[in-house]
């Protein structure tokens, strides 16, 4: 009895791990990089990446998409909430992710301060 049943432990483990991963992969739920909709609301501007969309940046920072779009500074209004940052450069030639980080930094500190300012 013992000689055979003991193999159940490792076999079940390997089966459950591969089975769960396989099922979630088939369902499209398995994601191993940040390029997924799961973005923490505690993102800082330093966490902004080129693959993120304007919407993801806004969600991640907990701000309105209008603020991000304004920081992007697209005069043609072609950039939308679903545009990925890496796709903005051909639309706004001066755009860079680093510049966007700085611009959002300035805006975030700017939006925080008015409430602190004496009226």
């Amino acid at each position: 009895m013992k000689k055979k049943t003991r193999w159940l432990l490792p076999l079940l483990w390997v089966a459950v791990i591969f089975g769960t991963v396989g099922v979630t992969q088939a369902m499209g739920l398995w994601q191993t990089s940040g390029r997924d909709p799961v973005v923490a609301s505690q993102l800082t501007t330093a966490d902004i990446k080129g693959w993120m969309t304007v919407q993801q940046v806004a969600d991640g920072l907990g701000i309105d998409t209008a603020v991000v779009l304004e920081a992007v500074g697209d005069p043609s209004n072609t950039v939308t909430a679903s545009t990925a940052l890496k796709d903005i450069e051909p639309i706004v030639p001066d755009f860079s992710v680093v510049d966007l980080r700085t611009a959002l930094d300035e805006r975030l500190s700017g939006t925080a301060s008015p409430t602190d300012e004496p009226t």
Binding site: M1, W13, W30, Q31, D36, V38
Partner: protein, 318 residues
């Protein structure tokens, strides 16, 4: 292997088991029970080493691709660790979001581990975790080099084991308050298998490498030092392992108290005193089951009441 060489953690061929074969009527020599048991132990160890190696190599290859080819899309070691699900748990429960660098893969692996441990106890540490594998190799190397071993007294051991819960609490709180994968900068698993030290060097990596080196050096003198005293995932397994359906159980009526099962345990569990299930710190290596010379004394099975029910219905259907 030479006859005088220790063959399995303290057993010697002639010391414990005596003659390894018996003569049959036809004059041929048949392997004795002792030799069969020795083979069984070797088979268990070999199977475990192969599975461990498979997982370790997979993680290393993935990490190397992740570090060397940005466009490869290979996962980071952070994304392939079930502990990520624990690290993000407080944030997830309170805000519905995840801390940075945690992905659905962490949640999926966390779920898989939860199902597996409730079903079959903890075999993750004994068969899958690459950090456990590294410690096993170091221990083997240290024994080959005849380095001294340190076996803490029972009370000291019990106190030191609480270290895992301290680390777990610290990691969960720091992850929650920072919103980041805080532990990744100190975790020996990420340090060794993430391979960042191979591609870049800075102060953060230097600290991580320092901590990892201390842990690995310690593992030469205390078997599975990290697993026993520090691993936060091990702490989670110890808690969940109490509720496992299948566990290694000792049948006190059959057991002869020979204590042979105590010797091979890599995490220092006194299997011979199991009542009836072995301690939830068990990492599922199965060495004790293979070492047990008495049939039915140590078995992998469901709770005694469930086993009795199953036996009864089995007899009735015959």
């Amino acid at each position: 292997m030479e006859a005088s060489q220790p063959f399995h953690r303290g057993f010697t061929r002639h010391g414990f088991y005596g003659a390894m074969s018996t003569a049959t009527n036809s004059g041929q020599r048949r392997p004795s029970k002792a030799l069969q048991r020795l083979r069984d132990m070797r088979r268990t160890t070999l199977a475990r080493r192969i599975v461990q190696l498979g997982f370790a190599v997979f993680i290393l290859v993935t990490a190397f691709k992740h570090q060397s080819e940005e466009a490869s899309g290979a996962a980071s070691v952070d994304a392939l660790c079930p502990f990520g699900a624990v690290e993000t748990l407080l944030t997830w429960m309170t805000t519905g979001t995840l801390i940075t660098k945690i992905h659905t893969s962490n949640l999926v692996l966390g779920l898989a581990v939860l199902i597996a441990i409730l079903l079959a106890g903890n075999a993750f540490c004994g068969w899958i975790c690459p950090l456990g594998t590294v410690q096993d190799w170091l221990w083997k190397a240290a024994r080959a080099l005849h380095l001294p071993q340190w076996r803490p007294a029972e009370r000291t051991d019990r106190v030191l084991r609480q270290g895992r819960f301290v680390v777990l609490g610290l990691v969960m709180l720091m992850s929650y308050f920072s919103g980041q994968l805080w532990f990744a900068d100190y975790d020996p698993y990420v340090t060794i298998f993430g391979l960042r030290w191979l591609f870049e060097w800075n102060e953060v990596i230097a600290i991580a490498v320092g901590i990892t080196t201390l842990v690995l050096l310690g593992s030469l003198f205390v078997e599975r030092l990290w697993c026993r005293y520090l691993c936060p995932l091990g702490a989670v397994f110890t808690v969940l392992g109490r509720f496992s359906f299948l566990r290694i159980r000792r049948n006190a009526e059959v057991c002869t108290d020979c204590e042979l099962c105590d010797k091979p345990c890599p995490v220092g569990i006194t299997v011979s005193k199991a009542d009836p299930a072995v301690h939830p710190d068990c990492v599922g290596c199965l060495d004790c089951v293979a070492a047990c010379p008495v049939k039915g004394a140590l078995t992998v099975g469901p709770p005694v009441a469930v086993a009795a029910l199953l036996n009864n219905s089995d007899q009735r259907t015959r």
